[in-house]
């Protein structure tokens, strides 16, 4: 286990906010405005489905780093074409729609839990979202960050080791002084390999009713908590 913990860094999409509901709600409105008949939840899932493949060329060094906002816009165009509705939107509308990821509802425990954790620890996102995206999402979802870390700091995407290592270094901390918090086992596996402490929070509703490989902690992570509030209580007991 880690020594003295100084900071917690968080996965955001899925772990702290409900991207699927947030994105689908926005799409539903846009589709209704344009009399488009399309399943907004299926569209949200398809959009998110392009997320990992679009980051891969950047992780491998084949493509120079661009912030996630650019990938979201590119992926939106791919999925609109697949749904046969690419010609229904102007460029300005597409850019506006790609900002759906800035306005996502937090899970009910997130904001209260983060505020509690902030009393004792530095807290920051370690997300693949850019500083532009994360700072606006923080306002929308009341996430009281001390700083915005993650992909934009490292100029590559998780689970590349640099993202975890540079996020800890940006706070002037050793990896073992930092806990990575996520609802995704792969994210924690990569953080643990970099020497960070780990905390797992299950989010069974991230993909709606679908089963997920992340229903349970895949390992005996340093902390396993019900939600962010529960994590705050467990850590306060040690502080």
């Amino acid at each position: 286990m880690a020594g003295k913990i100084e900071a917690l860094i968080f996965d955001v999409f899925g772990t702290l906010v409900d991207w699927r509901t947030g994105v689908a709600d926005r799409l539903k409105k846009e589709f209704a405005n344009k009399d488009i008949e399309a399943d907004s939840l299926a569209f949200a899932d398809a959009w998110r489905g392009e997320y990992q493949p679009s980051m891969e060329p950047i992780r491998s060094g084949e493509r120079a780093y661009v912030p996630l906002d650019i990938l979201h816009l590119e992926n939106l165009k791919i999925v609109l074409a697949r749904f046969g509705i690419a010609d229904q939107f102007t460029d300005d509308e597409l850019r506006g729609l790609s900002h759906a990821w800035e306005n996502l509802p937090a899970w009910p425990d997130t904001s209260v839990g983060l505020k509690r954790l902030k009393r004792h620890f530095l807290i920051a996102p370690c997300s693949n979202g850019s500083i532009a995206l994360m700072s606006r999402l923080a306002r929308f979802a009341s996430l009281p960050w001390d700083a915005i870390l993650g992909a934009d700091i490292a100029k590559t995407y998780k689970p590349a080791a640099e993202v975890y290592l540079k996020s800890a270094a940006a706070l002037g901390l050793e990896p073992r002084q930092v806990v990575m918090v996520a609802a995704h086992n792969d994210d924690l596996r990569a953080a643990a390999e970099c020497g960070l402490a780990t905390a797992f929070i299950p989010r069974p509703l991230e993909y709606g009713r679908q089963n997920s490989s992340d229903a349970e902690p895949a390992r005996d992570w340093d902390f396993v908590a019900r939600d962010v509030e529960d994590l705050a209580e467990r850590l306060a007991a040690r502080a």
Copy 2:
């Protein structure tokens, strides 16, 4: 003048916090503990005097970027030697003392003014201080930032153009959508050359009773305000 303003980014040392009093108070305590007779204000001024020269090799590309925390520690050692008291501190004590810059009192209007500005705009430091330093200073001085920008984002030091340009870009904004706020005319001059809007706030007490080249705005900056609260009122009138 700028079009629609979306964000304000701030110089911090001098503009938002009183580094001289904060650093001198900390030094005074350390000197008293060790029965060292030295003028803590003169020491604070000498320490700050090494600030610009120590960044110069990094701006010119002669030295790779290191965060300001490292320069503060190096400069502390230089000034301790000059005062003839270098042998009075252990390495751990030196590192602790170099963190004096994380605990500086805000000017009385700073925190209230930033909270008002945050209602309408994104706000972030654009300081030469690192994310590690700025995030801890924000907690100490109640600076409610949306993100931490500045030198650590650009990997060089103001007034290099990249610091202003990369800070605006990190928010996903054009330079003209961002106001640089500072008590130092040189900082605003560099920001204006990058296309940012500018706001001047006088801080006549930054160097105690000494006169400064920054007693008055050197140009007709986009905004000239008495303090941060006054700036918030002027901008709210336009919002």
